[in-house]
């Protein structure tokens, strides 16, 4: 009798693959605004403002050089230690911040999510993008340092064709961070135990990644363990593309790629299921 068209039906469950990509596209302006908000609000009311984006990596590198190179004497494949560490930490920091932020998506945004609906994936996506901008600023520091070394004749840079892989490396970093992060966020809404683990787990993970040491320094029998870490090939490839020394392996990179696709896919599905009711348990 009645022929009514519904634009939307809200019900208890939704299908596993019922992922609102179209809606996310509709909310693209929100993503842009979130990114702007993250960038502009970070250093509001500071005197140095965006300069802080530079200051933190510089101090980190000075400290790393002192501790790991001068004291511990870890070899850096012949690359000057500050360059070596800056290359590694810039990329690693991007991974770390994306991972920790997206794993706290529900907890950090509970006050907004509790009051208004928009596709929840908007939040981790905008985190990934806003940190990407900060990442590029830090890449700027790296370029300045490289130029300094190059033109003062201290160390000659050997940028090679592998630099073309750079966009892929970024996608891998962002994708893995977001995939693992949103899996963690979906699991931690109700039981916060995993959150405890993430807090210290990430800092430990850095030592399991060739950030402060090159893979060539790893004893042969442990090498496969380090390479199980999907971020290891990304960082090694990055350094290889700039300095021309280090480790490059296409299968290892392919492994990272598969890892990214699987975690991202699983993550989006889990996230999408949890977002409907997380407000009741967060």
């Amino acid at each position: 009798m009645e022929q009514q068209k519904w634009t939307e039906v809200i019900s208890a469950r939704k299908g596993l693959l019922d992922i609102p990509f179209k809606e996310i596209w509709h909310y693209r302006d929100l993503i842009i605004t979130f990114v702007k908000r993250d960038i502009t609000s970070t250093y509001k009311q500071t005197v140095l403002g965006p300069l802080w984006f530079f200051i933190s990596p510089i101090f980190t590198v000075i400290m790393y050089t002192f501790v790991f190179s001068e004291i511990a004497g870890i070899k850096t494949d012949g690359i000057p230690a500050p360059l070596f560490y800056l290359g590694g930490t810039t990329l690693w920091n991007y991974f770390q911040i994306c991972f920790t932020n997206s794993s706290a998506t529900f907890v950090n945004n509970a006050s907004i999510f509790g009051k208004v609906y928009f596709p929840r994936l908007v939040a981790p996506i905008s985190t990934i993008i806003s940190n990407l901008i900060k990442f590029f600023i830090q890449i700027g520091v790296l370029i300045i340092l490289i130029c300094y070394y190059h033109f003062n004749g201290i160390y000659s840079i050997n940028i090679n064709a592998y630099i073309l892989l750079f966009p892929l490396l970024l996608i891998l970093m962002a994708g893995i961070a977001m995939g693992v992060g949103i899996i963690a966020s979906a699991v931690t809404t109700k039981y916060r135990d995993l959150q405890m683990f993430i807090a210290f787990g990430v800092s430990i993970l850095m030592y399991a990644t060739p950030v402060i040491y090159p893979i060539s320094q790893v004893p042969e029998r442990f090498k496969y363990l380090v390479l199980l870490n999907p971020i290891a090939p990304v960082i090694e490839t990055f350094r290889y593309s700039i300095f021309g020394v280090g480790y490059f392996s296409a299968p290892a990179l392919a492994y990272s790629f598969v890892f990214m696709v699987v975690t991202l896919f699983t993550g989006i599905i889990m996230f999408n299921q949890v977002e409907k009711t997380f407000m009741d348990t967060v």
Binding site: Q4, K5, W6, T7, E8, V9, I10, S11, A12, R13, H26, Y27, D29, L30, T33, F34, K36, R37, T40, S41, K44, Q45, S111, I112, F113, G114, K115, V116, Y117, F118, K190, Y191, K276, T277, M279, D280, T281
Partner: protein, 432 residues
């Protein structure tokens, strides 16, 4: 035939009380196993009705149970009920913040919800940046906001501050700007929860006017939750009433408000004071109020009065230890808990600082009132001379002041105009 904007079918929502810990993990495991085996969720059968004042035996409660209703396009639906009746849960489900446990909601049109004023406002960003941020959160795109920006700023009247961070705003300006954004949303259905509780009277009136324009002029549907019966009555065309998660009434807004009031009256009736009445005393075991009855000027025990009619309260109380000096005080509060009339025995010279010997008494207390039509209750207290209570009963008994052909515009102002101190007459009788 008019179109249906929202159809709610058998909506229920289950909540778990208490903390999340290992016990919830066990329940989750049971639920998971039941789901795999294709059986009904075992926790559903444990759940109880949401009666917040009583201690239940189960950790699971139904915040909403089997709700069905329809909203026609262009209608303004008022949702009323006491605290914890499930109003906000219902709005959360409709605005997709949380999913129902069972049932479906079918929607025709784009929904925008305003469960809170200024959701996502960032204190460090300027008014302008926040208009965009908030607008995008509510689902507007950049073009829409660009087009409406001047209108929003104009509506909220904060033009001078638009490039100042909102943390420097007064709370009123903050709310004005936030409501301005929401009011200019181009959605087919607007959901509003209690947001008019803030802002000054002028701005509240502006908001109500805007909402009326929205529904009458632009044919949009509005769902509105408020405890301000004046506003609900003035704005809405239809009403539903919730009680403990059940849909108790669905009808025109006048019928719904009357129903709501009658339920409140039945719950806190006059007569002897039961255990459910809120009490407060500083000096224990001196005096206790046992029974309160209300009479109209014709000496009838009726809880309805006309405007300006004298109210007589007969208060029976027992004194168990001698009291040297006591003042009796009566406060009348309106629907929203706002105190609108105050009177006490001190203002009546003859009975200043009454001395009570041990025994039972009946106090007849005559209140001259000039209350506006509406519903009111009483807070009755015996104080010592320093203002500490011997016994006090709070928000007791519900009376109704009837309306004599006043139009609704007048009604909207509720009782706020009748905020007065009156001089009572009283008569004390010793019963035993």
């Amino acid at each position: 035939m008019s179109d249906i904007a929202i159809r709610v079918e058998d909506i229920s929502k289950l909540y778990r009380l208490g903390n999340v810990n290992a016990a919830t993990l066990r329940d989750d495991a049971k639920r998971f196993i039941a789901r795999i085996r294709g059986k009904v969720d075992p926790t559903l059968s444990l759940a109880q009705e949401n009666e917040r004042t009583q201690k239940g035996t189960s950790d699971y409660i139904w915040s909403l149970k089997d709700i069905n209703f329809e909203v026609t396009k262009g209608e303004i639906l008022g949702i009323i009920g006491r605290n914890g009746a499930g109003k906000s849960t219902l709005l959360k489900i409709l605005s997709k913040v949380t999913a129902p446990t069972t049932g479906t909601v079918k929607v025709n049109g784009r929904i925008a919800s305003l469960l809170e004023v200024g959701t996502g406002f960032h204190p460090e960003l300027t008014g302008r940046e926040n208009v965009y941020l908030n607008g995008h959160i509510l689902g507007m795109n950049k073009k829409e906001i660009d087009r409406k920006f001047d209108e929003i700023v104009d509506f909220s009247g904060v033009e001078r501050y638009i490039d100042t961070p909102v943390k420097r705003y007064s709370s009123g300006m903050y709310v004005r700007l936030a409501f301005g954004v929401a009011a200019h949303l181009e959605s087919d259905i607007l959901i509003i929860d209690e947001v008019l509780a803030v802002g000054d009277a002028e701005f509240q009136k502006k908001c109500i006017g805007k909402m009326q324009d929205v529904s009458k002029g632009e044919g949009r549907t509005v769902l509105f939750v408020s405890h301000n019966m004046g506003a609900v009555k003035n704005l809405c065309t239809k009403g539903i009433m919730l009680k403990s998660g059940n849909l108790l009434f669905d009808g025109t807004i006048e019928q719904t408000i009357d129903k709501y009031a009658s339920i409140l009256v039945n719950q806190r009736n006059f007569g002897s004071i039961g255990n459910d009445v809120k009490r407060n005393s500083y000096h224990k075991n001196f005096l206790s109020i046992n029974c309160v009855n209300v009479f109209n000027s014709k000496n009838q025990a009726i809880e309805e009065f006309s405007m300006n009619e004298e109210i007589r309260l007969d208060i029976e109380f027992e004194v168990t230890q001698k009291i040297d000096a006591s003042i009796f005080c009566c406060i009348i509060s309106d629907f929203n808990g706002e105190k609108v009339n105050y009177s006490s025995s001190v203002s009546h010279q003859a009975d200043k600082q009454q001395i009570y010997e041990i025994g039972k008494y009946k106090l007849s207390y005559f209140v001259k009132q000039n209350l506006m039509p509406g519903f009111y209750n009483f807070t009755l207290t015996f104080f010592d001379s320093n203002g500490y209570a011997y016994d006090s009963i709070l928000d007791f008994g519900e009376i109704k002041i009837n309306n004599f052909g006043l139009n609704d515009e007048f009604y909207f102002w509720d009782a706020k105009l009748g905020n007065t101190i009156t001089i009572p007459t009283l008569k004390l009788e010793k019963l035993s």
